[in-house]
């Protein structure tokens, strides 16, 4: 299945891209996607724990099972205000 992955701020700089479409095995969860990305992006691999995720623009736990067409973003520490 295909999901859209978005990258923001320091994660975009680290990944060298702002969005992409990825093919994942059916039933993959957020944690599985993070492991894939951590194998590609050294910054992600260095983090002590997976970054918080948003699925379809909602904060979502790592155990969230992804659906085809989902929009997924891992969020660097937010700094609004």
């Amino acid at each position: 299945m295909r999901v859209k992955v978005l990258y923001f701020a320091s994660f975009r700089d680290a990944a060298g891209r702002d969005e992409e479409v990825r093919d994942l095995p059916e039933g993959s969860d957020v944690a599985a996607l993070w492991r894939e990305l951590a194998a590609e992006v050294p910054l992600f691999a260095r983090l002590p724990r997976p970054a918080p995720a948003a699925v379809n623009r909602e904060h979502s736990p790592a155990t969230t099972v992804l659906q085809p067409g989902d929009e997924v973003a891992f969020l660097p520490p937010v700094a609004g205000g």
Binding site: L6, F8, A9, S10, D13, A54, R57, E58, H59, A73, L75, P76, P77, V78, A79, G80, G81
Partner: protein, 139 residues
């Protein structure tokens, strides 16, 4: 709409007061010239736009439940801001002052915690970096 790329119109927020309101508490976050001991020339705010909008709507809904007498307006700016410019503004209007203060304070605290917005500081030496509040570089 909670996000804007234009300068925040603070005067418009002051006009949010209704005839039944006795108190307005306005909070304005401003780009300052220093953070964690380093000089700042400007800040670029970046948002995950659609999600930031829905998170701020969620915060506004939560405030309506927690402070039923208070009406809250929230505006957050994105893009490059110079020192002295307003990055965020919250107006809380209410019949009485206690809950206007409380709702305004809760709004900015929640915004800083959950809304996907990031900021990059530009320094006089030409360098820039993304602010990570979890590293104690709070602004």
């Amino acid at each position: 709409m909670y996000l804007t790329t234009s300068p925040i119109d603070l005067a418009a927020l002051l006009r949010e007061v209704r005839a039944s309101d006795g108190a307005l508490c306005l909070f304005v976050g401003v780009v300052r010239n220093e953070n964690a001991g380093r000089r700042t020339l400007a800040i670029e705010y970046e948002a995950y736009g659609a999600m930031a909008e829905s998170e701020m709507a969620r915060i506004a809904d939560g405030l309506s439940r927690d402070f039923p007498a208070v009406r809250v307006r929230i505006i957050h700016r994105t893009g490059r801001l110079e020192v002295g410019e307003a990055s965020v503004a919250i107006a809380a209007v209410s019949p009485h002052r206690a809950d206007a203060f409380a709702a305004c304070r809760a709004a900015i605290d929640r915004i800083k915690t959950t809304v996907p917005i990031w900021k990059k500081e530009f320094h006089p030496d030409g360098t820039s970096d993304w602010v990570d509040p979890t590293e104690g570089r709070r602004s």
